[in-house]
């Protein structure tokens, strides 16, 4: 547990970029390409949009990130580093460069959350291959190696013992306290579905708001779902089954325990 609490020991610069991220948004047009990386189990998904000028330099750059504090901060930072650089120069930007500019990242966050460089390189690659236009959901590339998903302690150990991957069989959660990790529309819809079988559904979102459409947002507000904003799943613990999760509140930069009976993560 001690090493995990250090994982959230962010530098002032990381926190500053997290609170006031630069270049948030999307870009459109013929000379625009997007790179998407992320791993739903890590809880990060990142889109980086680049607009390339006639001089071959990155004219404009935007990002959309769904993830923890360091994911947001690294995205924000890389947009600042890459702006104005040629595509070849931008290809040279490494994860380490981004981390250095942010005065370092906690070691455990170096791999799983520092995806910004990968997303930028993906965007450049797509641009060069002529793949322009918006990112499609199916295009997600899981840059985070599968083994690193285990960085959430307990995720693997409790799979089938309170941890469920995917949005199936809501009836098995009857009267249980369920934590749903928000990932996409389906995760939000599933959380709403669960309110029919149990009085305690907690939806943990990495961002300040749900990354879904307005209709679902209103439905969540009207429901009995307890919505945790800027919340990151740190670890899962229990006996033979899940009993507790540890949540990182990114806004307060604090960790706390929450007693639950089940955890639902993306498939």
């Amino acid at each position: 547990m001690h090493t995990m609490s250090k994982s959230t020991n962010y530098s002032k610069k990381v926190l500053e970029h997290f609170k006031n991220p630069r270049n948030v948004g999307t870009l459109e047009g013929d000379n625009v390409a997007v790179g998407r990386v992320g791993n739903p189990v890590c809880g990060d998904l990142m889109d980086i949009y680049i607009k390339v000028g006639e001089d071959g330099k990155i004219d404009d750059i935007k990002f959309k990130t769904f993830g923890c504090g360091s994911a947001v901060a690294t995205s924000s930072m890389i947009t600042e580093i890459a702006k104005g650089k040629t595509l070849d120069e931008a290809m040279q930007i490494t994860r380490q460069d981004v981390a250095n500019e942010l005065d370092g990242l906690p070691p455990i966050k170096m791999h799983c959350s520092n995806l910004a460089a990968d997303a930028l390189h993906e965007a450049i690659k797509n641009y060069k291959e002529g793949k322009h236009g918006p990112a499609e959901p199916g295009e997600a590339r899981f840059a985070c190696p599968a083994g690193e998903a285990k960085n959430i302690p307990g995720l693997e150990e409790f799979t089938g013992k309170g941890v469920y991957h995917g949005y199936e069989k809501p009836e098995r959660f009857k009267d249980k306290r369920v934590l749903v990790v928000e990932f996409d529309h389906e995760s939000v819809e599933f959380a709403l579905e669960l309110t029919k079988v149990t009085g305690r559904v907690i939806l943990a979102s990495p961002l300040k708001d749900l990354a879904t459409n307005d209709e679902l947002k209103i439905e969540v507000k009207r429901s009995d779902i307890k919505h945790l904003k800027q919340a990151e799943l740190v670890s899962i613990s229990g006996g033979t089954e899940v009993e507790k999760v540890r949540i990182h509140d990114l806004d307060e930069n604090e960790e706390y325990d929450l007693f639950v009976d089940a955890v639902v993560v993306p498939a």
Partner: protein, 398 residues
């Protein structure tokens, strides 16, 4: 209904779980033992005998109160905290050679949690059993925590905060089958829910005098014959050597009188309080939007209603009620010594912000319909005013 206690006239007192007035009949029973019957129960002369007789009689009453087989199994203490210390520390240190593992639940009173911490510092291992969303101890999780070296299980009869009544008969059965001693903290439930240590296989049981309208500073530990505990207070060997110090005869007589009154009135009193409790729960959930009941709907103490209200903080509710002459309680961190929210509410699976928004109403012997009505009339306005001030409310409505 018994007569109204002087002093609570000015205040609508809805915090009986925190402290209770001493029943006037109890005070009357105690008086002679502070004046003419002042003897030391250890003295062999007549004045001493009066005290000895009073002690023996009181012990028989308390034994009957919990259906103990033998009055000798009752050890009088300075209160419930001391009784629980004797049960956990006294038993664990005495039985160390049998094992070093003790089990408690997540919803135990803070005193039990802190005694458990002390045991851990002194070489014991403590496991905590989680509860479900109603605050009921999970029997499957309890069974899972039992080890070959488990020597003691300590589970409350009911929660002093959320009022959930625990399945102690089932736990007692399990403990007996496994040959593990079973201690029950009955402070919150005594006088409201009958206790039967023989039927429920309880080996040790903590009682408090004030919680049944007796004087403060008196309690007892039931220690079943055959259960060995080390004394924590060493001296002249009173209370079979388990609790030295000259007995507070007046206090013990008052405790016994309180138990007598309680036994005679428990059924009618509980029925009366339950009606008000249910009236409060129904009305609050109906009239206050985004209000929730904490604890079990059915298996709860007759005098306990415990709520949480979204977007607002409990201490500010408490202060609003105070300004209107109403005394209530909260599990909010702002009202606690440690600035931590109630561990009981957290163990239900509530978030800190939800625990902050809690309000506890506990009824008692002198609660009136007027008290209940006053609370119900004031609550919606207080909640609304605080919600109008709260940024959380705006965020949700935006």
């Amino acid at each position: 209904m018994r007569w109204k206690v002087v002093g609570t006239e000015k205040v609508v007192y809805l915090d009986y779980q925190s402290s209770k007035p001493v029943d006037p009949d109890v005070i009357a029973a105690m008086m002679p033992y502070m004046t003419e019957k002042f003897g030391n129960a250890s003295s062999l002369h007549e004045v001493g005998d009066w005290s000895t007789e009073a002690l023996d009689a009181s012990r028989r009453v308390i034994a009957k109160f919990i259906n103990a087989n033998d009055p000798e199994e009752i050890v009088f203490t300075s209160g419930a905290t001391e009784a629980s210390n004797l049960a956990l520390v006294g038993f664990a240190t005495r039985n160390r050679q049998k094992g070093k593992h003790v089990i408690i639940s997540e919803v135990e009173h803070i005193s039990i949690h802190n005694i458990a911490k002390f045991l851990v510092k002194n070489g014991f291992e403590v496991s905590k059993v989680p509860v479900d969303f109603t605050g009921t101890v999970r029997l499957d999780k309890l069974a899972e925590r039992i080890r070959p070296d488990t020597i003691l299980i300590s589970i409350q009869h009911a929660s002093n905060e959320i009022g959930t009544i625990q399945p102690i008969a089932e736990i007692g059965k399990l403990a007996r089958e496994k040959g593990i001693a079973f201690h029950v903290d009955a402070v919150a439930s005594e006088g409201q829910v009958p206790i039967d240590v023989q039927r429920d296989n309880v080996d040790m049981l903590t009682l408090s005098s004030n919680d049944i309208y007796g004087p403060r500073g008196v309690g007892a530990l039931y220690v079943r014959k055959g259960i060995s505990v080390n004394p924590l207070i060493i001296g002249g060997g009173q209370e079979r050597g388990l609790r030295s110090g000259t007995e507070d005869v007046a206090g013990i007589v008052g405790f016994a009188k309180a138990a007598e009154i309680s036994m005679a009135n428990m059924a009618t009193e509980s029925t009366r309080l339950k009606l008000w409790r249910d009236q409060i729960i129904e009305k609050v959930l109906e009239t206050v939007p985004r209000s929730h009941l904490n604890g079990h709907k059915v298996n709860r103490l007759p005098n306990n209603a415990h709520f949480r209200f979204d977007f607002i903080e409990g201490e500010s509710m408490l202060i609003s009620f105070k300004a209107k002459g109403v005394a209530v309680s909260t599990g909010s961190a702002c009202s606690s010594k440690t600035l931590e929210p109630s561990h009981t509410l957290i163990s239900l699976g509530l978030l800190h912000e939800e625990a902050h928004g809690s309000l506890e109403v506990t009824l008692g012997r002198w609660t009136t319909q007027h008290d209940v009505d006053t609370f119900l009339e004031l609550l919606p306005g207080i909640v609304k005013r605080l919600r109008d001030l709260s940024p959380l409310t705006k965020k949700e409505e935006a």
